[in-house]
């Protein structure tokens, strides 16, 4: 091999070796961490679903009536409620909400999944004080600035976009429930 060729080939070989060894290390770590990662993700999803539907002990993701949603079951495998996931564009991106309703369509809990709003302002929609306002409500919810009635929610000062997106997602979930309910009665 001429000197020139050597100067061209040698670095390429070294780079190849470095890439190969790096790939090996990554593959090894991947094998090592695959299961714990899957477990951690499943655990987080379970916690989120539990918050939305506290009475359920088991959750089943199903696709019925052209919708994907979660059925919540108790120990006797009776359906205690449903969880619907919907999103709307908020201020800092999409806001995704898990809505839990019982078999009568009454809200048992709401959990935000994706929330990238302004800290201290829009992010307040993820706080318990805001989330618990939804529990017990049934029909489509509207936003008011004060003195909320049965199916109204008081907004958060300066966070209208975030709150509106959140409420829209909740209402979408309630519409999903009505679909299920309708189809169940048929």
């Amino acid at each position: 091999m001429s000197q020139q060729n050597k100067q061209l080939v040698f670095p390429v070989i070294i780079l190849m070796v470095i890439c190969f060894v790096t790939a090996l290390a990554l593959a090894f770590t991947n094998e090592l961490t695959k299961e714990p990662i899957a477990t951690a993700i499943a655990e987080q999803e379970l916690i989120a679903m539990q918050e939305a539907l506290p009475d359920a002990t088991k959750f089943e993701t199903v696709t019925e009536h052209e919708m994907e949603f979660v059925k919540g079951l108790d120990e006797t495998d009776e359906i205690v409620g449903y969880i619907f996931q919907n999103s709307h564009a908020g201020y800092g991106g999409d806001i995704t909400v898990n809505l839990g309703v019982d078999t009568d369509g009454i809200i048992t809990g709401v959990t935000p999944l994706e929330l990238n709003e302004t800290p201290g302002i829009g992010m307040q929609v993820g706080e318990p004080e805001f989330l618990e306002k939804f529990v017990g409500k049934q029909d489509n919810i509207s936003l008011v600035t004060s003195d909320p009635a049965e199916n109204e929610i008081e907004g958060i000062a300066g966070a209208t976009v975030s709150v509106e997106a959140f409420i829209k997602s909740v209402n979408d979930g309630l519409d999903d429930y009505k679909e299920i309910d309708l189809n169940n009665d048929e």
Binding site: I14, L15, T29, T33, P119
Partner: protein, 244 residues
């Protein structure tokens, strides 16, 4: 020199390599490196500490590997080689965190993979690890890493206390007195700026140069040859072909 003197001077040289990164050549306040993460994750103490430890680990390991390979990596492939090594380590740390500490993984979010382009790591690879033996490179990584942690934690101390009224999540100041600005990036800029002004003042009193981009620190950055900031600091050699 007697061999005893030799060993002594080697030890003190090694110690100096380590101590440098802590305060005198602190990567954030003196070398002006790693600024993006120092603004992004420094709003909480736990965030800063976690990020700092991740950076420390990656920095030491990549310094070691690059120093070991310094004689085989030729100039033409040096940037892709360094980035591959650094990205490899960061990916490993990322996977381990996601598997065994989901809390910290969620906390660091997108800033964890961004460690790859954290200029501290590229900068030390280029400016030190590729010209020095393994032991020194490891010590440099340790010193710079701890210096980074010290800088991040001091910034976060101020930002979390003033912005969230807490320290490590423990509430201290009642909500009415929280200054929201400090929890946001703008506040981060202000805090870092003030701390840098203070450190410049102290440096001036000690007769040391002001904080600035150093040639060896920026050498690892792929666009160093075209950097306006380096030019204005007269750190680009006349007609330099360094980038090639």
């Amino acid at each position: 020199m007697t061999s005893k003197d030799n060993i002594k001077s080697k030890k003190s040289e090694a110690l100096d390599v380590f101590r440098r990164g802590l305060i005198r050549e602190n990567p954030v306040f003196r070398l002006v490196l790693g600024m993006c993460s120092s603004l992004a994750v420094s709003s909480t103490l736990i965030g800063s500490l976690s990020m700092g430890i991740a950076v420390l680990i990656v920095l030491v390991m990549s310094n070691i590997i690059i120093s070991l390979l310094r004689n085989v990596i030729s100039d033409s492939i040096r940037i892709p080689a360094y980035i591959t090594v650094i990205a490899g380590f960061v990916s490993v740390v990322e996977m381990l965190l996601q598997a065994f500490s989901t809390e910290i993984y969620d906390l660091l979010g997108i800033y964890l993979p961004l460690i790859v382009v954290n200029c501290i790591i590229l900068g030390r690879a280029e400016g030190f690890a590729n010209k020095n033996p393994v032991g020194m490179a490891a010590l440099d990584g340790l010193g710079m890493g701890f210096g980074y942690i010290i800088a991040m934690v001091s910034i976060a101390f101020i930002r979390e206390l003033l912005g969230f009224g807490s320290l490590f999540g423990i509430p201290i100041i009642p909500e009415e007195y929280h200054i929201l600005l400090f929890s946001m990036p703008a506040g981060g800029f202000i805090v870092v700026g003030i701390m840098m002004a203070v450190s410049n003042k102290i440096a001036e009193k000690l007769g040391k140069p002001k904080a600035g981009l150093k040639e060896d620190a920026c050498g690892g950055c792929p666009v160093a040859a075209h950097c306006q900031a380096l030019r204005s600091n007269d750190l680009l050699a006349e007609g330099s072909e360094e980038a090639n």
